[in-house]
């Protein structure tokens, strides 16, 4: 049980993800200074004693989201890229996978999604790359096809994509608006930060090319909130500056940050004090979010919003994310993988869009990666939200997807504690914010594909 303070009150976060405000008697009882029978009985009731039986997800779990890697080629050469950089796991130049997904594979993927989503009425199709817009013709025909097929089988389908924005043209923007496609832009902040890593093959920075294009997109595509997705490195670690540039100067509604996925020894890897620096900056921006929420203003720091939503629902994860369960990635050749980050990797293949999911491989994966199999996480109070962290991150760091990401435990606990404090603060100072922003019946929003 994790105890924290906010707005002059004391709260607990239990090992099964419940948040309670506790009074002085209960706090004294927790410390062993009080034997009030009611308080002791109540504390006992909220914290499960001893291990509970492992709960496996139901077999043939329905698919909610499919990420289609329409190409594994890119017109940028971002130094830190997990797909092309030093830590890549799929050979994209001379490998088995085609460089571009063809129309037939894309259609087969859509059929696969419609079939594997089973009883799910709302499904998400996300496009990813490489640079997604390099394969615009297939993108365009696939969305038209998927829309028609979903209507035929009585499902609602939602589209989104991630792009580096270099290839945005007025007619593409028009098409994105017409088709209500959600857009996530990979962008690292102001010019000096963006151009440090996000460069063309000749080394030229991409800021001057994309800034006007992104501004144009944001001005016109107003039907859905468009988010920026920032990769943080040891050399571009200025969260507040990046956030304010992207929201105020460029005009993004939401900005999400993630530390670069990389082996430990890279120059740009965040390690040691870097995580502390990053945590301090995240905290400062998170409290800015909190004050805005109390004042009834929008604040687009999506990391804190996503975590608050999970805290409010009381999410207790058996797996760090939906990969291999409700979310799968498809490679350019039609192989089905855990997620888009593993698409095309033979070692992480779960099947193919034509032959379906290899259920035995999937079950073995789910057994091995269940939180109960991660002994390192047993004593951690933050495990309901973290559940060991990203499989891809673990693979790159330790060469093993089933390892817990121990290199960022302190950062995760620090960040979770901050979000809990903000949750507590909002519950006292503006309780309606929590109920309004997270409707009860709505399923968890999927994180932007990165």
């Amino acid at each position: 049980m994790h105890r924290f303070q906010a707005a002059g009150k004391t709260f607990v976060y239990t090992s099964n993800a419940a948040v309670f405000e506790i009074d002085e008697t209960a706090e004294a009882a927790l410390d062993g200074h009080c034997d009030d029978a009611t308080a002791l009985r109540e504390i006992e009731a909220i914290e499960p004693l001893g291990p509970t039986a492992r709960q496996m997800p139901p077999a043939e779990f329905p698919l909610t989201t499919m990420v289609l890697n329409v190409t594994n080629q890119c017109n940028l050469s971002c130094t830190y890229c997990y797909e092309y950089g030093e830590d890549k796991i799929v050979e994209t130049e001379n490998g088995d996978q085609p460089k571009f997904m063809n129309e037939q594979t894309a259609r087969e993927s859509v059929e696969f999604l419609l079939n594997e989503s089973r009883t799910n009425k709302l499904i998400h199709l996300t496009f990813f790359g490489g640079e997604t817009l390099l394969n615009f013709p297939v993108l365009k025909s696939t969305i038209a096809y998927a829309r028609r097929r979903a209507a035929e089988v009585g499902k609602q389908i939602d589209f989104s994509l991630t792009t580096n924005a270099t290839l945005l043209r007025p007619e593409i923007v028009e098409w994105l608006i017409d088709n209500n496609v959600g857009v996530t832009i990979s962008m690292d902040g102001p010019k000096e930060l963006q151009d440090q890593f996000r460069v063309f093959k000749n080394g030229m920075g991409s800021y001057d090319i994309i800034a006007p294009k992104v501004k144009d997109l944001l001005r016109r595509h107003t039907r859905r909130p468009i988010g920026a997705r920032v990769t943080l490195t040891s050399q571009t670690l200025d969260v507040k500056k990046i956030f304010h540039h992207l929201t105020e100067d460029i005009g993004f509604a939401e900005v999400g940050f993630a530390p670069v996925t990389t082996a430990n020894n890279r120059l740009y890897a965040i390690g040691g004090n870097g995580f502390d620096t990053m945590l301090a900056q995240f905290q400062s921006l998170a409290w800015e979010f909190c004050e805005a929420a109390i004042a009834g203003r929008h604040h687009g720091f999506s990391n804190v919003k996503d975590t608050l939503e999970e805290i409010h629902k009381g999410v207790s994860k058996a797996y760090p994310c939906g990969a291999g369960l409700g979310l799968m990635g498809v490679s350019t050749g039609g192989d089905v993988a855990l997620c888009h980050r593993f698409a095309g990797s033979g070692d992480h293949k779960l099947g193919s869009v034509t032959e379906g999911i290899d259920r035995l491989v999937q079950i073995q994966f789910l057994e091995l990666h269940h939180i109960d199999s991660k002994t390192d996480c047993k004593q951690c109070w933050a495990s309901p939200l973290c559940s060991g962290g990203c499989y891809h991150e673990a693979h790159v760091r330790y060469g093993d997807t089933s390892r817990a990401n121990l290199h960022y435990c302190e950062w995760i606990r620090g960040w979770t504690d901050t979000c809990l404090q903000i949750y507590g603060e909002l519950s006292v100072r503006r309780p309606e914010f929590l109920n309004r922003s997270v409707p009860d019946a709505e399923p968890l929003q999927l994180e932007a594909v990165r």
């Binding site: 239990t14 993800a17 948040v19 309670f20 308080a39 504390i43 009381g314 999410v315 207790s316 507590g424």
Partner: protein
């Protein structure tokens, strides 16, 4: 809950489960009609008590002097009404005539004898 206030959705579910739904109350305490019984009605425990007959184990004053059913009837009810045959001889195979001399339990119970395998 008195000392803890549930905040998130999970906490609300847990505290709803932790609250005692209803106490065990006597049959004559009707739900919703005032008195100590909870609004949802009395809580019926499973098992023998389902065939609990008022005035059997205790009379209206809590004693056994004014029972309307003889306590000796228990002998039959445990295996007939509650299906608890382990307490009595196997009357299908080994001791079919075990109670043949006992027409009325409160009068003839002494005629029921021990059975030796």
């Amino acid at each position: 809950m008195k000392h803890l206030k549930p905040l998130n959705q999970k906490a609300h579910r847990i505290s709803a489960e932790a609250e005692p739904v209803a106490d065990v109350v006597a049959m004559q305490q009707r739900g919703g009609g005032g008195g100590a019984a909870p609004a949802g009605g009395p809580h019926f425990p499973l098992g023998c008590s389902l065939v609990f007959s008022p005035g059997w184990e205790a009379d209206s004053s809590g004693g056994t002097a004014g029972l309307c059913q003889p306590v000796e009837r228990d002998l039959f009810d445990c295996h007939a009404g509650c299906f608890w045959p382990a307490q009595v001889p196997d009357q299908l195979n080994h001791a079919p005539n075990w109670t043949s001399k006992c027409a009325a339990a409160q009068k003839d119970w002494r005629n029921i004898d021990l059975v030796f395998p």
